[in-house]
Symmetry: C2
Subunit: 145 residues, 2 copies
DNA sequence: TTATAAATTTGTAATCATTACAAACGAGGT
DNA sequence: ACCTCGTTTGTAATGATTACAAATTTATAA
């Protein structure tokens, strides 16, 4: 487990004081590919840190997003997800299992239309929605029987 | 104003009973390029229909989304926007004026990565965030003085 | 037409994620 | 040890969405 070390380095580089909660939150995000929501982060960290408050999770996440250390992902409208990978990359949301996964291998910057010449584009979000391979076969099986 | 006729046709084609509220909501969406949220739709329609309930707006929107007649757009995480254009197209969200506008001229379907071969992709959402031409110059002016 | 059933619309209460904010805490510095 | 300031916590407020039962409208049958 050296996501802690990694987190500390990232915070220092970003001139953000590496407080205990910030380290916990960032290190948690670095250690997962699940794009968790606030509640997920809170529940998992709370097991090791019983005094933890959900407000602290919000505090840290807001700061980290502000400092461009992590990114916010808005897919389902009920809850916001967070990603330690702040680079521009695409996601797939599975309506079956609810997972959000990275789709590598395509560069969203290629989507910059010439129509955006007059715009200042700070961020590109791309996501696909549908069924992941596992959930897809499940659905087909159900239709069969 | 023949968005009403248009709405009626679309509902019939989709085998959705064209009730008065559904016609109002769909016709409102057809008549705007603003990608309005529930409250915007509600407030504007309420002026002409004083008995209107917000629950009815939710009812109609949910049904229309379900029937693939309109689409839900999730950009800002506080509120959901709706679009009578259910085709796959891109949007730009301006952090200055808060507007969401269509970006034509690129087909998101071109971007189906080979990595998605095993997936069932029902929907592609792409949006850019930043500053629209108008807000961009305003920002630059402020920096100058 | 009148009665009856079904669907729609309304009003309101409940839910749930997020925000606001004041009190408690804790790491440095004196 | 004491003070200060930023951090963390607990809790209340907000605001969008959902749930749901009552009222109203529309469709169907007698
Ligand atoms: Mn990701
Ligand atoms: Mn649009
Ligand atoms: Zn799945
Ligand atoms: Zn703008």
């Amino acid at each position: 487990m050296n996501t802690k070390k990694q987190a500390e380095q990232i915070l220092r580089d970003g001139h953000v004081k590496p407080t205990s909660i910030r380290l916990e939150v960032l290190s948690y995000l670095l250690g997962t590919d699940q794009h968790p929501c606030v509640d997920q982060i809170y529940l998992d960290l709370k097991e090791r840190i019983p005094t933890l408050s959900k407000a602290s999770i919000y505090n840290s996440l807001h700061l980290l997003v502000e400092e461009h250390i992590i990114q916010k992902i808005t897919i389902e409208d009920e809850k916001t997800r967070y990603d330690a990978d702040h680079s521009t990359h695409s996601h797939f949301f599975c309506k079956g299992c609810g997972q959000v996964m990275d789709i590598e291998g395509l560069d969203p910057n290629d989507f910059k239309s010439p129509l955006l010449k007059e715009f200042e584009v700070d961020q590109i979000q791309i996501y696909y929605a549908g069924y992941c391979p596992a959930c897809k076969v499940q659905k087909e099986d159900k239709t069969d029987e």
